[in-house]
Symmetry: C2
Subunit: 518 residues, 2 copies
C-alpha cells in the first residue's frame, strides 16, 4: 500500500493513527493534495471554517475536551497569521494542537511569488515546535514528530509546514509514533517542603491550576486544604475546570489588581500546584506586576508539566489527608429572577437552568464577572475560559467542544465585542449542527476598556476616545448576523424573557443564539 500513497496521504494516515482524528480546515491551492487525501482516508473528521481564527480556536476547544491534539489545515503564511491569535490563547492554555500549514513547492520559493512569506518566522512565537517538511518520503515521520511534540507535557502547539511537493510526491506509508516523554514525577524534597508549608494552616495558600482543577485532583487538593487548614484558590482563568454540584467549589483570584492584592495580602506562603506565581494581567502606573506581597514565600509543589496527580496523592499521603472528605458544592438551583436583565439576573438564570454535563465557554469579562460564583452550585459542568487574553476565542472554542462532545450541551456566554472577532464560527456551528447555545451580552461597547481608561489614569475621556470604545452607531443586530450564517435566534431585554429564551434554547438540538441586551 505504501508505494501507492503520496506524501499527503501518508501524513493524514499518520495523524489518524496517532489519535489526531479531527481537522479544522481552511484550505487553499497549496493544500489541495492534503484535501484530496482526506477523501481517501477513513477516520478523520473535517470541519470547514470560513476564517482561520475559527479553525485554531475550535482545535483548542476540541483538544481541551478530548485531551488529544486536534489538527488544523491552514493556507501558507497569511492563513497561519489569521490563526495566530487563538493559537496564542491555546499556547497559554497549554493545549496540544498540530497545525499543518501549506507552503509553495520547494522549487517555487526562490521566486518570491505573491503568497510567499516567512512561515517559520510567523509560527515560532506561538509554537513549541516548528518544522518545514523536506520531502514526501519523510513528511509522515514529520507528522508523527509533530504529534509527539504537541503531546509533550504540559501540551503545546506543533506547526508542520507542508511544501506542496512533499504532499504530492511519493509517500512512505504510516510513520511509527514516537512516545512523548513521560510527565516528570515531583521529587520528595518538594513534597516535604510544601507539606510543611501547608501544615501551617491558613497563612498558606494552596494555589491550584491546569490539571489540578479536574474533579479528581481537585478533590485531593481540597482534602489537603481541609486537613491542614490552608486556603485553596485557583487562578483568575484556567483552560478547563470541572465544577458545580458534587465537586469542589473552587474560588478564583479576582482580575482587578487591587482586589487580587487584597486577597493575597495576609498570605505568608503560596504553594503552587499547576499554577504560576500570580501576576497582574497588565502593568499599571504605580502598581506592582506581582500580586503577592514581596514578603510572601512562593514554593512549587508541581508545575503544569509535572505529574500533578501523583504529586497530589503523595502530598496527601504525607499529610494523612487521604481519608478526609473534602467539602463539595451542594446542588442549589438559584431562583429565577424577574424584571431588569442585570448581569446578576442573567447569572441566576444560567445557574438555574444549566443542564448536567454542560460545557460552559465563558468569554464575558465584564458582564460575566459574577457568573463563575453563581454557578458553583449549579449542576455539574465543565468551564472553559480564555487564558491568553486574545479576544475572539468563545464561538470557536464552543464549536470545537461541541464537535468533541456530541451528546453534551455547550453554552457560550459571550461578550459582543469579542464575538465579532470570530463571528464566522456560527456558520461552522450551523454546518456541523453543533449543540451550542450562544448568549451574546449586547452591551454595545468594549465595556472593559471604559474601566481600563479610568484605570490608567486617563480621566474625562472625550468624544473621540469614547467612540473607540463603543460598539453603538450602528448597533449590531445579532439575530440578523446569526440568521445570515444559518443560526436561528432571538433578542431579549428582560430577565423574564431571558429565562424563557435560555430554557428554550437549551432544548434546541443544534446551534441557537440569544442576543441579551444588557
Amino acid at each position: 500500500m505504501s508505494d501507492q500513497m503520496n506524501g499527503a496521504e501518508s501524513l493524514v494516515r499518520t495523524l489518524v493513527a496517532g489519535g489526531v482524528d479531527v481537522c479544522f480546515t481552511n484550505p487553499g491551492t497549496s493544500e489541495m493534495h492534503f484535501v484530496a487525501a482526506l477523501d481517501r482516508v477513513e477516520g478523520m473528521e473535517c470541519v470547514l471554517c470560513l476564517f482561520e481564527g475559527v479553525a485554531t480556536g475550535a482545535a483548542d476547544g476540541w483538544a481541551r475536551m478530548t485531551e488529544r491534539p486536534a489538527s488544523t489545515l491552514l493556507h501558507l503564511g497569511p492563513g497561519l497569521a489569521n490563526g495566530l491569535a487563538n493559537l496564542h490563547n491555546a499556547k497559554k492554555a497549554m493545549t496540544p494542537i498540530v497545525n499543518v500549514v501549506g507552503e509553495h513547492t520547494t522549487t517555487h520559493l526562490q521566486y518570491d511569488a505573491p503568497l510567499t512569506s516567512d512561515i517559520e518566522g510567523l509560527a515560532r512565537p506561538m509554537s513549541a515546535w516548528v518544522r518545514t517538511g523536506r520531502d514526501s518520503r519523510s513528511i509522515a515521520a514529520d507528522g508523527a514528530d509533530a504529534i509527539a511534540a504537541a503531546k509533550t507535557a504540559p501540551g503545546g502547539i506543533a506547526t508542520l509546514i507542508l511544501p506542496a511537493d512533499t504532499a504530492w510526491g511519493e509517500g512512505s506509508g504510516v510513520a511509527p509514533m514516537p512516545l512523548p516523554p513521560p510527565r516528570t514525577k515531583v521529587d520528595d524534597v518538594a513534597i516535604a517542603a510544601t507539606a510543611a508549608a501547608l501544615a501551617k494552616g491558613k497563612e498558606t495558600l494552596f494555589f491550584v491550576g491546569t490539571g489540578a482543577v479536574r474533579e479528581k485532583s481537585l478533590a485531593v487538593a481540597a482534602a489537603i486544604a481541609k486537613k491542614t487548614g490552608a486556603r485553596l484558590l485557583g487562578p483568575t482563568s484556567v483552560a478547563r475546570t470541572e465544577r458545580g454540584a458534587g465537586r469542589v467549589p473552587l474560588l478564583r483570584l479576582p482580575y482587578p489588581v487591587d482586589f487580587a492584592r487584597a486577597v493575597l495580602a495576609d498570605v505568608k506562603t503560596i504553594v503552587l500546584c499547576g499554577a504560576r506565581d500570580p501576576v497582574a494581567f497588565f502593568g499599571y502606573p504605580g502598581k506592582p506586576s506581582r500580586l503577592a506581597d514581596p514578603a510572601t514565600t512562593v514554593m512549587t509543589l508541581a508545575t503544569a508539566a509535572d505529574d500533578l496527580e501523583d504529586a497530589l496523592t503523595r502530598l496527601a499521603d504525607r499529610l494523612k489527608a487521604q481519608g478526609v472528605a473534602p467539602d463539595l458544592a451542594p446542588l442549589q438551583r438559584a431562583p429565577l429572577p424577574t424584571g431588569a436583565l442585570t448581569p446578576e439576573a442573567a447569572g441566576a438564570v444560567i445557574a438555574h437552568h444549566l443542564p448536567e454535563g454542560a460545557i460552559v465557554v465563558s468569554e464575558s469579562i465584564t458582564t460575566g464577572r459574577n457568573f463563575h460564583a453563581l454557578t458553583l452550585t449549579a449542576a455539574p459542568h465543565d468551564w472553559l475560559e480564555i487564558t491568553g487574553g486574545s479576544i475572539g476565542i468563545g464561538p470557536p472554542l464552543a464549536l470545537g467542544a461541541a464537535v468533541a462532545c456530541r451528546h453534551r450541551k455547550v453554552v457560550n456566554l459571550q461578550a459582543d465585542g469579542s464575538a465579532m472577532y470570530t463571528v464566522q464560527a456560527l456558520w461552522s456551528q450551523a454546518r456541523t449542527r453543533a449543540n451550542v447555545l450562544t448568549v451574546i451580552w449586547s452591551n454595545r461597547s468594549y465595556a472593559i476598556l471604559k474601566m481600563e481608561l479610568a484605570n490608567v489614569g486617563a480621566a474625562n475621556p472625550g468624544r473621540k476616545a469614547l467612540d473607540m470604545l463603543s460598539l453603538a452607531d450602528p448597533d449590531l443586530d445579532w439575530v440578523a448576523l446569526a440568521r445570515g450564517m444559518g443560526v436561528d435566534g432571538r433578542r431579549v431585554t428582560t430577565a423574564d424573557e431571558f429565562a424563557v429564551a435560555f430554557r428554550d434554547g437549551l432544548k434546541e438540538a443544534g446551534p441557537y443564539l440569544i442576543e441579551a441586551v444588557i
Copy 2:
C-alpha cells in the same frame, strides 16, 4: 507645551505633523493613553474597526489613494497577528503603513503575563522596519523614524511597538521629521539598453507595473510602445491602476499558468518597468515557476523603488516618443444585458453604470475574470486589487479608500468566500457612512479551489473534499449579514434585477450591499 505632554501625545502629534492623519484602530488596555491622546490632538481621523484585519486592510486602501502612510493602532501581539494577513497584502502592494502596536510596560514583560508574546518576531515577516520604543522621551522620534521608513521607496510597513510606560511617561514634544531618501534615478546605461531592446518592436514586451500604471506614466509608456512597436502589458494584479475612457487600455498577464505562458511564448525580451520578472502564483506538478520562456532575455528599466516617471521620460526622449499620442480607450458603455446573471452579464452592468471617478476594489478572481477587460472603456476610474493573495482584503480596502476619498464612489466587487474573512468591515463602513457599494458574488463556494483541485491533478474529488470547498449548507444570507452590521442591501438573481440594484446602489450616499446570486 512639550513638558505637559506625555509620550503618547507627542507620538500622535508627530504622526499628524508627518502627514499621517488617519488611524484605523482596535485598541486595548495597553493603548489607552494613546486613545486618550487622540482626544487632545486635532487633525487625526480615527476609525474604529471591530477586527484588526479590517484596520490593516483599510490602512492599505487609504494609503493607496492618498499616497501617504496611514496608521493603525493594534493591541499587543495577538492584535498585530490578526492584522498580519492584510499587512502581507500591503507589503506586496508596497503600501506605506505605520503600525502602532501596544505592549506591556517595560517592567511588566519579565512576568510573562497572559498577553505577553514576541511582538517583534510577529512583526518582522511583514514589516520593512520594526522598533520597540525605549522610553517616553524618544517615542516621538521613533514615530518620525517609522514614517520615514514607511515612505522609503517603494513604500513599506513600519511597525512601532509602544510599551505602555513610553506612552504614559513624560514626552518630548513633536519630533523633527527625517526625510526619506529620494527615489533612485535610473542610470543612462539602463536607459540605452532598454531603448535598444524596445526598438526591436513586437518581439519585445514592455512590462509595466506599480507607479508606471498611473495615468500620466502609463501614457508615456504607451507612447514608447506605439513608437517602437513593442508590446505593452501589465502584471496579473497591481495595487492601483488609473484606467477607463481617455486612458491607456492596459491589458494584463492572465492568472492561469498555461494562458500566461502562451502570452509570453514568442517574446524575445522583456523590459521591466516597475514590474518583476513574471512568475506563477503557485507551483504546479510539471509546470515551471517562471512564466517567460527560459530563452527570453529579461532586462530592467526601473524597479518599483526607482524614479519611474523620470526613467520613462528619459526613455521616451531617447526613443523620440515624446510627441507620439498613445492610443487611449474610448468611452463605450456596454449595452445592458437581460436574462441570466452570468459573470459576463454582471461585468456588462458594471461597465455600463460605473460612474466617473469611481474607485473599484476587485476581489473576485473567478466571477470577476472578465470584469477587467469589460471595464477598459468604462468611465475613467481607479482599480485596486489584491496583490499578496491573502484573501479578505476587499471590504477593508474599500473602507479605507472611501475614508480617503469622501466624494468618490467606491465599488467593491467581492467574492463571497473572501468577504467572510473580514466581514466586520461593513460595520465600520456603516459607522463612517462610507460611500461604498459592495457587490457580493454569491456562488457559495471557494470556486477557485475547485479549479485548483483539478490543476494539481486531484481528479474526482469525493464528498469530504468537496465539502471543504463549498460554502453551501447553510447558504450565507448576505443581506441579513449586512443588516446585522447596519448596512442596507438586497438580493438579486437575474441580470435585469442586478442592473436595477446596481444603478440604485450607486445613488446611495452611504454603504449599500447587493448579494448577486451567481
